[in-house]
């Protein structure tokens, strides 16, 4: 990444001359700049520099001598020291010491819930999984839910109430509050305001409404930093009322997304990823895939799986949308003026959409203006998609409102002195509110400001009272999912800090119920309002989820006050009807039959007028987006998320002024240059990061960085993009000036880390295998070489391998490249499951990040174009049957199990690192500096007790979640049976929203994985090295529109290389390198080199 300040033309020329590869990772690949490349081609670069420059002979000998002297000591460990066993006094029911329990709960982001199952070891939550029965999850989660375990145990969490920053007991707050309420009551709450984030929770909203009823002059404001004002207002523009749009991607043949990162960001994305990817897998017997056109103005995860990805400036999204709409005959009041370069594309999209009426989707991202959302509604109406690929429902929000206006009014009233009491329930408005509102300044005029939050953050510091909030895993609550399903938030552990309160409890205190628990609040509310809560549809959206029995037709609940039947702990006492519903809901994690029924809407509104009001933006533009890992800043102090390489940019620990190569070159900037960004007189200093595929003349700035009071992990990382963000341009702004400051700042970007460098093999086959659908149908086995056949016994310098076919199990994994969109949920899930330590920015800069799995990202195409193809490839230990790492270990610390697992035995490892040096996949991680935190008490609680916490000096890597295999094996062995298919689910597989990872037993011919391995498009990464990897990949098949320029695929390249395989060349390939005259000559080798026809099992005899 270091120095790529070269003229664009020379880069292009080099790319044309194929100095680099077809699929490249960074600019270094193209320019083949030896210096910068060398820095990363070493397994562990920059080691020597740590010793300092003065490494003379004497110094060297000293260090060597000391090393030898101490070498023996590192092998020593204390014999198991004295430990205690502390049994219960009275054992709780259901807990079997040593066995985990799973409880249903919910994870809420932006107010919207995803159902989760939380693993609890002896009362300590350790891992979050998706709730397979919950419609928003279906067993998967996003990376934020995975990482919320770490937030629970974060030692930086606020633990005590504070008054003007000084510690005060919560009781003091209650005393003050009571006094204050006495004063406020006679005024009917005049001057009393509540500020929340988006709320879908029926109980919380019910409490606020009750409070507002008690104080009629009080007001409720909402502001969500990464909010959906545009979507909300768009629906109001189109239909006159706030409605929710729920998509059914499994029914859509053609999807056009305009800056909608629907697979990885926003409401329902986890479920949408599942539905969408189900239609994207080229398998035997499948002739059709869905098609995705992605018009993006910032790098998105969805862009990686798009069939056609076009990068445009933020302001051009409107033009593209308008052009498509006009093409479809929607009256937008504007001429179709798409950027001329994309005219052909727009034409094709229109044609495609028209051809699949009722089976298409036109989606506009949450961060595009409301007018475009109205436009999307009109387009979907025109295409007849309503009712088939999308439905409208009531808003899932408890009180849908224009949140920006709501906040503006609050700030105006605060400035006007009309606000006496301000209760801020979660959120961090001082940090996140639009800069021109100066929320902090307005806050000073409030007489009593109370802030409930998880951390003592920027807002807490400006408020009179700070009340520490409970983590969602510590308190009861509820929230609605994307389809309206009411999801129960069940606590897994009593609050770690006794002073912490949930929003429900604080609101109860405002209603003079000073000691009401969150459990009582939720249960009582449900009991009183069950009828209203359950009037939703009885069939969940998409009909994929079985509704729990017995509850759908539950009789109406007893009137309030009557249903207080206490359920006897020992089964005595009768369950009331409400109890049955409640217990079922708590057990399942959600209230059955609470999702919203599709709603009939009447189109109306003046689209043309709304479109005409779109602001004209000119000059260099900046787009603000919630960060892919720390979101709007709420996860800033989460080390797991900070260290996760961000989707598309691969940046860790910082945000940056992200721009294209062309833009940087035009402005005379290089990577890691510190620049001053200024928009309308507001300035901030940021660091340049060049990302190929980024639209030109535009800058992306992720929010959530530059925190002052995030905690030790998140403070001072990156720059605060909120300081540029104003009410006029919440999501993008024009007229940005960028000026270099002359300073530089190191960015820990992992794009070039762990690069696979097997040049000999690469000449045979690219790491990422791609084909268009047409190429795939012509030649399904395009990705295969003779090395993919497990039976092919090639001459080998290794000792002959075991015959794994004779074993009960041969574990393997298949990763689907067509589904993976690098959302990083797997990376965080792996971190949580396997106790992987956080190493920090400095160590990431030294390429020492410990993640067992990484997601490699490759580009293809012309460097000058922003419309590059982006391919992502998760890589972890491939568990080679002939593993090069095992042969070089001097102490046999890495060995092979009879079931084919490449085992890593930590207690035997002496840290020679030979194995890592010999690993072609670069998947081994060495613990250089005792990264695991052995000291912080709260962090100890969150570790997975089934996985060793590794110490310094030890190599580690993906184990295929051996602890999960062993757990399943033990259960099977107890019953003297075999492990069933699907019984072992690895952490990465479990969490994947797109179901891109499949794990299982290759010896079971009926297992899901065996079927995938038998698919023609399955191939082994670097199988050419004859290491026989157990992990294999499904090649990426894209349904490219044949009218548009065809991408250069590896399938086309191989076809050119080997000549035609089919009878006639109906490939329609426009690939210039396929000389038509050579088609009939079967080239080079015999049948083995023609994998197109070869059944994998027949290929080698």
């Amino acid at each position: 990444m270091s120095d790529n300040h070269q003229p664009l033309e020379s880069l292009q020329a080099k790319l044309r001359n194929k100095t680099g590869r077809e699929y490249w990772r960074g600019l270094e690949d193209i320019v083949s700049n030896p210096e910068s490349h060398d820095a990363f081609s070493q397994e562990f670069p920059r080691q020597a520099s740590l010793l300092g420059d003065a490494l003379d002979r004497r110094h060297f000998l000293k260090i060597m001598g000391a090393s030898f002297g101490l070498a023996g000591l590192t092998a020593c460990s204390a014999y198991p020291e004295d430990k205690h066993i502390v049994p219960y006094v009275k054992a709780p029911e259901e807990i079997v010491p040593g066995k985990p329990l799973f409880f249903a709960s919910s994870f809420t982001l932006g107010g919207v819930a995803t159902g989760v199952l939380v693993e609890s070891h002896m009362g300590r939550p350790t891992k979050i999984e998706g709730n397979p029965d919950h419609p928003a999850s279906l067993g998967a989660t996003d990376l934020f839910a995975q990482a919320s375990i770490l937030t629970l145990y974060d030692p930086d969490r606020s633990q005590t109430s504070r008054y003007y920053g000084d510690f005060r007991p919560y009781d003091t707050f209650l005393r003050d509050l009571r006094k204050h309420l006495e004063e406020t009551k006679p005024k009917q709450g005049e001057g009393f305001r509540i500020l929340t984030e988006t709320i879908t929770s029926p109980t919380l909203a019910g409490q606020i409404r009750k409070l507002l009823a008690d104080y009629p002059k009080a007001m409720w404001h909402q502001f969500e930093p990464a909010g959906r004002d545009a979507a909300r207002e768009g629906s109001k523009l189109a239909f006159g009322s706030y409605v929710e749009t729920v998509y059914k991607f499994d029914k859509a043949d053609v999807v056009v997304s305009l800056d909608a990162d629907f697979l990885a960001n926003g409401v329902g994305s986890v479920r949408y990823a599942r539905d969408f990817s189900a239609r994207r897998r080229a398998r035997k017997g499948i002739k059709e895939l869905s098609r995705l056109y992605m018009v993006e103005c910032v790098p998105t995860a969805t862009g990686t799986v798009a069939d056609h990805r076009i990068a445009v400036k933020p302001s051009e999204v409107a033009a593209m949308a308008n052009a498509i709409a006009v093409g479809l005959g929607v009256n937008t009041g504007k001429p179709a003026a798409a950027p001329s370069t994309h005219a052909k594309l727009v034409e094709s999209i229109v044609k495609d959409l028209q051809a699949s009426k009722g089976k298409s989707l036109f989606i506009v991202g949450d961060y595009q203006p409301a007018a475009l959302h109205a436009l999307a509604h009109a387009v979907n109406q025109a295409l007849g998609n309503v009712g088939s690929t999308l439905v409208y429902t009531d808003s899932i929000e408890a009180e849908p409102t224009n949140q920006l206006e709501s906040l503006k009014k609050l700030v105006a009233d605060m400035n006007g002195g009309a606000v006496e009491t301000l209760l801020i329930l979660e959120g961090n408005p001082v940090y996140t509110a639009p800069a021109d509102l100066d929320f902090a300044g307005a806050l000073k005029k409030v007489k009593l400001a109370i802030h409930l939050s998880l951390y003592f953050d920027e807002t807490s510091a400006q408020c009179h009272w700070h009340i520490p909030s409970t983590h969602p895993l510590e308190s009861w609550g509820d929230a609605r999912a994307f389809d309206g399903t009411i999801t129960v938030q069940q606590p897994l552990i009593a609050p770690l800090y006794s002073d912490t309160k949930s929003p429900l409890e604080v609101l109860a205190a405002f209603g003079y119920q000073f000691n009401l628990s969150s459990y009582d609040v939720v249960r009582t509310f449900w009991q009183q309002n069950l009828n209203k809560l359950m009037t939703g549809a009885s069939t969940p959206v998409n009909g994929a989820v079985p509704v729990s029995t017995g509850t759908a037709s539950a009789p109406p609940p007893p009137p309030a006050g009557e249903g207080k039947v206490q359920v006897g702990q020992n089964g005595t006492g009768l369950l009331s009807d409400f109890d049955k519903v409640w217990r079922r809901a708590v057990h399942d994690g959600f209230l059955a039959a609470s999702s919203f029924a599709p709603k009939t809407v009447t189109p109306g509104g003046n689209l043309a007028e709304a479109m005409s009001k779109l602001p004209a933006i000119s000059g260099t533009e900046i787009a603000f987006r919630p960060d892919p890992t720390v979101y709007d800043g709420r996860f800033s102090n989460n080390g797991w998320l900070q260290e996760t390489p961000k989707t598309r940019t691969k940046l860790t620990w910082d945000n940056a002024a992200i721009m294209s190569f062309k833009t940087a070159a035009a402005k005379g900037l290089k990577n890691e240059d510190v620049v001053t960004l200024s928009v309308n007189g507001r300035t901030v200093k940021g660091t340049v990061l060049i990302v190929p595929s980024h639209p030109d003349d535009s800058i992306t700035a992720y929010l959530g960085y530059g925190r002052e009071r995030a905690g030790v992990v998140g403070n001072k990382a990156g720059f605060n993009a909120y300081t540029l963000r104003t009410t006029g341009g919440l999501w993008s702004a024009g007229g940005v000036t960028v000026s270099a400051t002359g300073e530089t700042y190191r960015l820990a970007c992992t794009q070039m880390h762990w690069e696979i460098e097997a040049s000999e093999a690469l000449r045979r086959r690219e790491l990422v295998q791609t084909a268009t659908l047409k190429e795939y149908l012509d030649h399904p086995a395009f990705a295969k070489t003779e090395f993919d056949d497990p039976k092919a016994r090639k001459l080998t310098m290794f000792q002959p391998v075991d015959d794994y076919a004779a074993e009960r199990y041969a574990w393997g994994m298949v990763i689907d490249l067509a589904s993976c969109m690098a959302c990083n949920a797997c990376v965080v899930a792996c971190t949580a499951e396997n106790n992987i330590p956080v190493v920090g920015k400095e160590e990431v800069l030294r390429q020492r990040e410990m993640h067992w799995m990484r997601i490699d990202q490759y580009y293809a195409g012309d460097i000058a174009s922003a419309d590059l193809e982006v391919h992502v490839q998760p890589v972890m230990c491939q568990h080679c049957e002939m593993a090069p790492c095992e042969l070089v270990c001097p102490v046999a610390a890495t060995t092979h199990s009879p079931e084919g697992i490449n085992e890593m035995t930590y207690n035997r490892c002496v840290g020679t690192k030979y194995c890592a040096n010999n690993c072609p996949y670069k998947v081994r991680r060495f613990n250089f500096l005792h990264y695991a935190d052995y000291d912080t008490p709260s962090l100890k609680l969150g570790r997975n007790p089934d996985v060793t916490v590794r110490s310094r000096g030890v190599m580690e890597k993906c184990t295929y979640c051996i602890q999960r295999i062993n757990a399943a094996r033990i259960e099977a062995e107890k019953e003297t049976r075999l492990i069933l298919d699907g019984e072992v689910v690895t952490a990465c597989q479990a969490v994947c929203p797109a179901e891109a990872i499949v794990f299982g037993n290759l010896n079971d011919k009926n297992s899901q994985i065996s079927k995938l391995v038998a698919e023609p498009s399955n191939y082994g990464l670097l199988a050419e090295l004859n290491v026989r990897p157990r992990t294999s990949y499904m090649a990426k098949v894209r349904n490219v529109n044949s009218e548009l320029p065809q991408p250069k695929t590896t399938a086309a390249a191989r076809k050119a290389e080997h000549g035609s395989h089919g009878e006639g060349d109906h490939g329609g390939s426009e690939h210039g390198a396929t000389p038509s005259g050579e088609h009939k000559s079967e080239s080079t080798s015999g049948p083995k080199a023609e994998p197109g026809k070869a059944e994998p099992s027949k290929a080698g005899h």
Binding site: S77, P87, V89, E899, V947, T948, N966
Partner: protein
């Protein structure tokens, strides 16, 4: 020039060179033996416990079965030490006022648990599972010795990896009928013959699977 070394140095140096081999060998042997001795492994060394609980009295004397207290031994990796409530099942009635039981009663009254000293202790990198051993016909006595004869509990076996592997390599030495797992006194007439039969019957994995590293370390 006079000689630097006396002639006798020839003999001494030869002795040092050849003797050194033996000395180093002896040292290595000594180190290994010390490592295997009770001094390190704590075999048959009882530890001070909050209550001097006698397994001999409860098991041999009263005939209480193992699973009455160690309830999770068949299912979990951990054979639990019973909660105080299990003690109180009997001791609310019997020996209620005994001085020896004072800590138990205090724990019961205050709710503050007893802290027992761990006797059978493995490294943090070892993942041993009681459940599967018990259900595959390994008797308690095979690892824990004659607990029914122990006044104070102590290790009967060293619990070293060498010792574990001895059984993982040849489980037939120890396999027993499932109804004899908790029997302290049962002995097979011909253990090896029975063991081989049971190994097939229980479908015990072959030694190369049982001795692969990831069986116990992950």
């Amino acid at each position: 020039m006079p000689q630097h070394f006396h002639r006798s140095m020839n003999t001494i140096s030869k002795m040092m060179i050849f003797g050194g081999v033996f000395i180093i060998g002896f040292g290595a042997w000594l180190a290994l033996e010390i490592n295997r001795s009770a001094n390190v492994t704590d075999v048959q060394i009882a530890k001070a416990q909050p209550v001097q609980f006698s397994h001999q009295h409860h098991v041999a004397g009263l005939g209480i079965e193992c699973r009455y207290c160690h309830t999770s031994v068949e299912n979990s990796h951990f054979a639990n030490v019973p909660p105080i409530s299990t003690c109180m099942n009997c001791h609310q009635q019997i020996w209620f006022g005994a001085q020896m039981l004072e800590p138990v009663r205090t724990a019961w009254k205050t709710g503050k648990a007893l802290e027992w000293q761990r006797v059978h202790n493995l490294g943090d990198y070892v993942f041993f599972n009681h459940g599967v051993h018990v259900q595959k016909g390994i008797g308690c006595v095979s690892c824990h010795g004659r607990v029914d004869k122990m006044q104070l509990i102590s290790k009967a076996e060293p619990l070293t990896m060498e010792w574990c592997l001895n059984c993982h390599r040849n489980p037939e030495q120890f396999l027993r009928p499932k109804d004899k797992v908790f029997d302290m006194e049962w002995k097979a007439d011909n253990q090896l013959e029975l063991g081989r039969k049971l190994k097939a019957e229980y479908k015990i994995e072959p030694a190369r699977n049982l001795t692969s590293c990831s069986t116990c370390h992950h």
